[in-house]
Amino acid sequence: MSVAAPLFAWVGGGLAIGVVALHLLAWRRPPASLLPTARFAPDAPVRTVSPAVKPTDLALLAVRVLVIALVSAALAGPTFSSRVQGLGRVIVVDRSHGPEAWAPIDRVARSVYRSGDALVLFDSAAHEVRNPTVDSIVATSPTSESQGMSAALVVAMRAANELQRRRDSVEIVVVSPFGSDALDAATASIRRVWSGTVRTVRAGTPPNDTTRARRLDIRAGAGDPVSAALALAGAAPAGAVRVVRDSTRAADTAWARQGGAIVVWPTGAAHQGWQARAAADTAFGVTVTSSVAPSRTSPARSATVVARFVRRVTPPPGRVVARWDDGEPAATEIPLGAGCLRSVTVSVPSTGDLALTPAFRHFAEQLAGPCTGADGWVAASDSVVSAVLPAAGVRDAAGTISAADTTRSDSTIAAWLLGAAMAAAVVELLVRRGAANATA
């Protein structure tokens, strides 16, 4: 048992000692003595104050001390915790990646979950499941909207603090595909608040760092500046995208129909089916007006390259994804089956260092994104996940939330104690009345 406010316990003890002292000085009936001339003494109440070694009115004293003890105990806020030996766990299950990714997550979550664990589910909102069972994991259908891992971590830490009252140690187990969209700047800060262990279990996506490289397919010749720019883009996420620097083939079209994004970015800035401009001219800048795939997997960002570009063709009709500085379309995108075909008419000089500039790298990265309107997501790399959600907590920040929660008094016990104190006060009244009648 622990108390939230020991001061009240000390004050109660002092009051109890005071009550005992008062009972040592209680009104007492003086000893009787025969005196024939007693009639000449003033007629006064036959009680007087006198000190005594033994407290008087023991029943009344006991009830009064009980009242004080109960009130002080209620104000002190005792907390009774029956700790269970062993490890307590909070299972955080990510349900925000849609029905397609849910099956492996559900399977892994069921294998991880044990009876007695706390369960936190999050998609568009994070919430702790009360009295969870293994079936609670699939109580509702998963959604494709996510509020992010940060909110789920806050709920999980709150559940972990509750669980910490009953367990020796608590760890948080996060079962998620760890999409890059789920991790934000606050995730790492929130993780540092929790001093315990956070174990990450990836489900529904391969845990590696080569996802983008394997999925981004570039077909270009040697020394191609676009290839170089995309290679320098580094860890920028990419979807199932194929960049074609030459002419498209039937296999490309078939691949795109299955959900891929074909980026036709010919070397000569001319492609079969594209309309040539009446006269070649020069543009001095090009901008990706919005994200090629402005979905949650690729937040809307603009990328502008200021340089001298020669315009010879006009992209085919479609959704404009990039414009020249004068507003004419520089790249368009048309849907193709489950995927799309993106046409880029920006000619990149093979000489010079334009392709190596950060602006162009960013520009190329944006154009090499997944299809517009695609609801795909990209898994964060293991290194990112381990950096954002390290297994060990920060010792210095241990228990900032935990300490605040463990000092919370148990209002139920306090209410019962106060109720008992009131009952004892009524008993005290009755005992006092009885004692008064006895001494009168």
């Binding site: 005196l35 024939p36 009680r47 007087t48």
Partner: protein, 321 residues
């Protein structure tokens, strides 16, 4: 009965021990009052020759005056020598001395059994009564005794025989003060022209007793009040106690430091009023403290009759005030 007698014997034994160790034993008392006279306050009308002036004038040896012989006088009382010298017939007149019956009324109620351990008030009352009986008996006066206790009244009619003082002493020693009974009824059957000495603390029916004493005095009798007061009553212990009246257990009042002054004041006022009321009736009133030797009290009472020999001690003077 046997147990009661045993208790009394133990009490008497204890009392005897106290007497030997006390300020004045019974023997010392009798020695101290040897020769003390207790004359009547006024001429008595007794027929038997005694030590008190009689209202009658007869043929006593002590000449008082001559009176011319009148017809009807006894010729034997004619002074023949004076007749021979003066040729006139005179008869000799002498003041007769007679006895006066003395009745001692002793209060033996519970209030006299105080202090409980030494029974000082009862001892003082007994000694004073025995002393007065002895003094009266020395003058060949009949002496009687009435003891008023919770069991009723025990009487010894006035007698002049030898040993009456011892009988009185034994009767007093056989009594353990207890209970409550008024004193006034003990004076109902008293004939006039008797001397009555009331030894009591007057905490009972004091007004009735004084009223009855006034009637006896008006009828030619003589009443002496000996007020027995214990030192513990005059100066109670300083500790806080619940004072309980021994004759009325329902009368219990706290005697603490705060009420002590009021108690002393009220008790002194009552004593002053009591003394004034007795003296206003023309009665004799004497305060006898327990610590005061009984012989001195006896002398005070006897001195009150003489009007001259009374020794007024500072304590008594303070009490009278």
């Amino acid at each position: 009965m046997r147990e009661r007698r045993t208790a009394r014997e133990e009490e008497r034994q204890q009392r005897g021990d106290d007497e030997t160790s006390g300020p004045e034993s019974r023997g010392s008392l009798l020695d101290a009052i040897r020769g003390v006279k207790w004359p009547a306050l006024r001429p008595v009308a007794g027929a038997l020759p005694g030590a008190h002036h009689s209202r009658l004038r007869g043929a006593a040896p002590e000449l008082s005056e001559y009176r011319v012989y009148r017809q009807g006088d006894d010729p034997k009382r004619i002074d023949w020598r004076l007749l021979a010298r003066s040729d006139r017939a005179y008869i000799r007149l002498a003041e007769d001395r007679s006895t006066v019956s003395t009745l001692l009324i002793v209060d033996a109620t519970a209030s006299m059994a105080f202090p409980q351990r030494s029974l000082g008030k009862w001892r003082a009352a007994s000694d004073v009564a025995v002393g007065l009986a002895a003094v009266a008996h020395t003058s060949r006066d009949p002496v009687g005794l009435v003891i008023v206790s919770g069991d009723g009244m025990r009487q010894l009619p006035p007698r002049t025989r030898r040993g009456i003082v011892g009988e009185i002493a034994r009767a007093l020693d056989d009594v353990a003060p207890h209970g409550s009974l008024p004193l006034a009824p003990a004076m109902r059957g008293i004939r006039s022209r008797i001397r009555v000495a009331i030894v009591s603390d007057f905490l009972g029916d004091a007004d009735d007793v004084r009223r009855r004493a006034g009637e006896v005095s008006a009828a030619g009798g003589e009443v002496h009040a000996i007020h027995i007061v214990a030192d513990e009553e005059l100066d109670p212990p300083a500790r806080s106690v619940l004072a309980v009246d021994p004759e009325d257990a329902s009368l219990a009042r706290p005697l603490v430091a705060e009420s002590r002054a009021a108690y002393l004041e009220r008790f002194a006022a009552w004593r002053t009023e009591l003394a004034a009321s007795w003296r206003a009736e023309g009665l004799s009133y004497t305060v006898a403290r327990v610590s005061e030797p009984a012989s001195r009290v006896v002398r005070h009472v006897a001195g009150a009759a003489l009007g001259t020999g009374r020794v007024v001690t500072p304590d008594v003077r303070r009490e009278i005030r």
